[in-house]
């Protein structure tokens, strides 16, 4: 067991380092940050001053080693553009994103699973058909299209809700809806098919024959086993949400880390960009690690590592 955890952790760290390095080199291909800061008509002297203050005059490998050693020491560097530690900038913008994301993740999981279970239990009935229609719509239409449509309907036409920025709970309603529809759709599809599969197993009938309530059969025996594939996908959903937030945040002008990352890329603010990516990869790997470990917690067959009987 220890070995399992250790191996996975090492792999996770290696992944983080690799992607981080990839971003390091790729971002430097996108253009010259000094030019961004100073503009097209900078003088040679001001160019050299700025470049050396940002250590951009050093050979590429030296830059890399400097940044890497900084990462290891915990010094994430200063934003080129804002002249402040990147960690501070990030933290400042974390609020809106976290507020939004955490609610989305919890709500979409709960609602998605609920829809999936209902659709499976009442399969081929009207409820199931309605849910399936919804999931097709939800899976195919991108979240920013929803965002724009929702703004059009609720902000322009009905004038019920604000269309941008933060300030109150009402500002989060439309972003929440735009971000949730997709994940609810895919989680409910998956839950539905996993449930249908599980409910056709013989142990479901054995459970019924005990005389326990139908809901106990469906939840304790059905859902309990159907959740495995769903847990995998939930992990992926969390990651997608963090990534997909970029566009929605932009559409709603939310000052979150989505917009921060996009701006950092646009302005060639390498340290800031590097930091945003780093946090995202770390979250991603951590979430995947949790998913892996949760399997072992939930399924005794995986704990034993051996699927064959005796």
């Amino acid at each position: 067991m220890i070995r399992y955890v250790v191996v996975r952790t090492i792999r996770a760290l290696a992944t983080i380092w690799l992607v981080w390095s990839l971003v390091f080199f790729l971002s430097r291909l996108t253009g010259d940050p000094v030019k961004w800061i100073l503009g097209e008509f900078a003088t040679k002297e001001s160019y050299e001053t700025v470049a050396s203050s940002l250590h951009l005059d050093l050979p590429l490998w030296e830059q890399y080693m400097r940044t890497l050693s900084g990462l290891v020491r915990g010094d994430m560097g200063m934003s080129y553009y804002h002249r402040r530690p990147v960690a501070d900038l990030f933290l400042q913008r974390l609020g809106p994103t976290m507020a939004l994301q955490s609610v989305v993740i919890v709500a979409t999981s709960a609602i998605g699973i609920l829809f999936g279970v209902v659709a499976a239990v009442k399969h081929d009935k009207l409820v199931d058909k309605a849910i399936r229609f919804f999931t097709i719509v939800g899976c195919t239409i991108p979240n920013f299209v929803f965002a724009v449509l929702l703004i059009f309907l609720f902000c322009l036409k009905l004038k019920w809700l604000p269309s941008g920025n933060i300030g109150s709970f009402r500002h989060y309603v439309l972003p929440f809806i735009s971000l949730s529809i997709g994940p609810i759709a895919s989680i409910s599809r998956l839950t539905r098919s996993a449930m249908l599969d599980t409910l056709s197993q013989e142990y479901i009938d054995v459970a019924r024959m005990k005389g326990i309530s139908e809901s106990a059969v469906i939840i304790k025996h059905g859902l309990r086993n159907a959740l495995f594939p769903v847990v995998t996908v939930l992990g992926g959903q969390i990651v997608t949400l963090v990534g997909g937030a970029f566009v929605v945040e932009s559409v709603f002008s939310l000052p979150g880390i989505g917009t921060l990352s996009v701006t950092a890329a646009q302005t060639r603010d390498f340290p800031l960009l590097q930091y945003c990516v780093f946090i995202m990869i770390a979250t991603f790997t951590f979430v995947n690690l949790l998913v892996d470990l949760s399997y072992a917690a939930l399924d005794p067959r995986i704990r034993d590592g051996e699927w064959a009987t005796n």
Partner: protein, 330 residues
Amino acid sequence: MMVNLLEIRNLHTCYHAQNQVVRAVDGVDLHIRQGDFYALVGESGCGKSTVARSIARIIDPSYAYIEQGEILFEGNDLVKLNPRQMRAVRGLKIGMVFQNPMTSLNPVVSIGKQLLEAIQAHTRLPRKQAMDKAISLLELVKIPDPAQRMQSYPHQLSGGMQQRVVIAIALANDPKLLIADEPTTALDVSVQEQILKEIDDIRKQRDMSILLITHNMGIVAQMCNRVAVMYGGVIVEDGFSADIFSEPLHPYTQGLMACMPSIEEEKEELHVIPGTVPKHFEPGECRFLHRCPIATPDCGQREPGLEEFKENHFVRCHNVNIRRLQEEAR
């Protein structure tokens, strides 16, 4: 006269498949008394499993339904019970064992918990007593180290052991009727022998009735006192096992027995029932018409009813019954 424990009257169970209605059980009558070891025999598609599932009311309502008929258990019609009432029957009065032990237990819950669930479904025992009862159930089905096994998971047990656990679950609340749907088909012959004998011992101890669904005539001959043979959704022969084996009356029963290879005899060629089970049956003719060696024109004109040929020996065949009438006339 004893009241029958289970009395099935004119049961019709149908299901929808590809825009058609399949009449899986098309008019079945069956009487099981207390203590009977009753075999329901037939090949795939004859409806025997559907009969079992109809009794327990665990047919999938999204595509199957009991069209008509009564299933009287201790005098109460199970078909008319609402879900809550039916739950009071399942596990307490009727227990069921299924064919594949590897998929009959929830893979992520321990054996102990699954047993406790069965016990607590109908009793309100304090935990310690419930645990003790669970352990004694495992002892009853001859599982070694029962106290240890409570913490085991299904995948840690062999197929035979898993089936024993399923039997323990079915017997947890001392049901009057145990329905066993091909309980040993997926098991090795040596394990099969052990388990069947153990079920029979339990039956004798508790004066329990068993309805055994099977296609294995050997098991039927050795263990069961009564047999019903099904074909095409109806019962074609029904009687005491001794009678049916010594004098099988229906051509299908005869064919079935003759076509089985046996270690007792040296047969160059096995008897064959020609053709296969038709997908549809025309009303007004015998279901076995196209495969029957003794079919006469009358068999295509009207469907025979299940009639008592000898005492307690019923058969659904014009030509057998004609023989009886001829014999009576003498």
